[in-house]
């Protein structure tokens, strides 16, 4: 029953969100609730896509779109590259960021294929240093449920997720390792890395 699957997490999220906002202290209440609201929206859209019955290519396009709207992709791109990002021209930075956006969207869009027919439920949001962590549980068909955590920050007045942890496996750390290995492979040239990322993922 895909309709119920798609609706019930949202309903639970609203109820739990209301409870969380009452429990949280006044200083953090607003951002805490906002962090959660962002992930509620994100999860709601993911659940709709994985139960839409669309073609795989159609779903991957939808995931790319969701990733770009909810995630702070330029900040992720910058962090993943690290120091070399500051050493290149602004035109090269822009080109790299665009290539990274395509790469990361294709790569993780494809992985969400494994979620088809499943659902994600939002559990709670809490402060973690300067950020907020929104913890969710993914229920895939025929699997034990697993933990999926989003790290959310205020990015220029808008909440965006900057990291995702799948059973502890950290997107930012994993991609930093991967992109820096790719940079080494092209002798440290960011334009060459940019070109390679355009067809990767």
């Amino acid at each position: 029953m895909p309709i119920f699957d798609a609706l019930s997490p949202t309903r639970r999220a609203v109820l739990a969100g209301a409870a969380a906002s009452v429990l949280a202290g006044p200083a953090l209440a607003l951002t805490d609730r906002e962090a959660r609201a962002l992930i509620d929206g994100l999860v709601g859209e993911i659940n709709t896509v994985i139960n839409s019955g669309k073609s795989e290519a159609g779903m991957i396009r939808d995931f790319e779109n969701i990733f770009n709207r909810y995630g702070d992709v330029p900040a992720i791109a910058r962090t993943v590259l690290g120091q070399p990002f500051n050493a290149i021209s602004s035109a090269e930075q822009a080109a790299y960021t665009t290539a990274f956006r395509g790469y990361i969207s294709r790569k993780y869009g494809k992985r969400f294929r494994e979620f088809i027919g499943g659902r994600i439920e939002v559990n709670d949001a809490r402060a973690a240093g300067r950020f907020f962590e929104v913890r969710t549980t993914a229920f895939l068909r025929g699997e034990q449920p697993f933990d999926l955590t989003f790290v959310v920050m205020d990015s220029g007045g808008q909440d965006r997720f900057i990291n995702m942890l799948i059973e502890g496996v950290n997107l930012l750390a994993t991609e930093r390792n991967e992109v820096r290995a790719r940079l080494d492979r092209v002798g440290g040239s960011v334009p060459a890395l940019t070109q390679a990322l355009q067809s990767a993922g």
């Binding site: 494994e114 449920p145 697993f146 930093r176």
Partner: protein, 256 residues
Amino acid sequence: MRQPDISPAFKRPGIGAFALRASAFAAVVLLAGCAAAPADDPLAGVNRPVHAFNKGLDTVALRPASQVYGAVAPTPVRQGVSNFADNLSTPGDMVNNGLQGDLDGFARNTFRLLMNSTVGVLGIWDVASAMGVEPEETDFGETLHVWGVGEGAYVELPVFGPSTTRDAFGTVVDFVIDPVGTTLDGREADYALGARVGSVLDTRERFSTTIDSVLYDSADSYSQSRLIYLQNRRFELGGDDAQQTIDTESDLYADF
């Protein structure tokens, strides 16, 4: 702890019991001859050739076999085989639950073994999960962790894949203390081994997109496998995302 997530190949490495003694022996021989390597990965010099071997094994055997298995066996059959294999590993989990003093895990696994072996017909149907009693999967590596043993160095075992020196030792102990492995013989042992191979093939097939991406699309598949395995294993044993964000990954967020 919990089983399969998005990276089960890194969590439950291995093809089956048949290669354990040989690969453990090979690992010891290789460890003795290890070369200089980065401080956080002292065994890289031995691990990288083993990784190349394991990747080749995946290319020529595991990956194609999993595709055939996925095409030939319908999903309910594969699920039943995997459930049967999981049920056989429950007594070993219970031994480790006991050694860790995990009474809740021990009670849940005992309930699961009783329900699934009877109502679930030898474990083919996972009726306990349907009743909301999820497994508490564990291993002797986790028992050592509970007893205060550190993870040691990262090690990639031939056939069995990513591990640590602590967890590799735990894998050997698990084979020795497994009540099922030491009880079954003859045809029963063959069925058990067959089910375990089927379970590995099923996992490889089900998560093929992610596993293929790590093994075949990464710039450095050894380094990616190592990082993913260690993050996931530490999460399983420690299990707190917030701690990871604040403590160990502080430099990761330095730019934000």
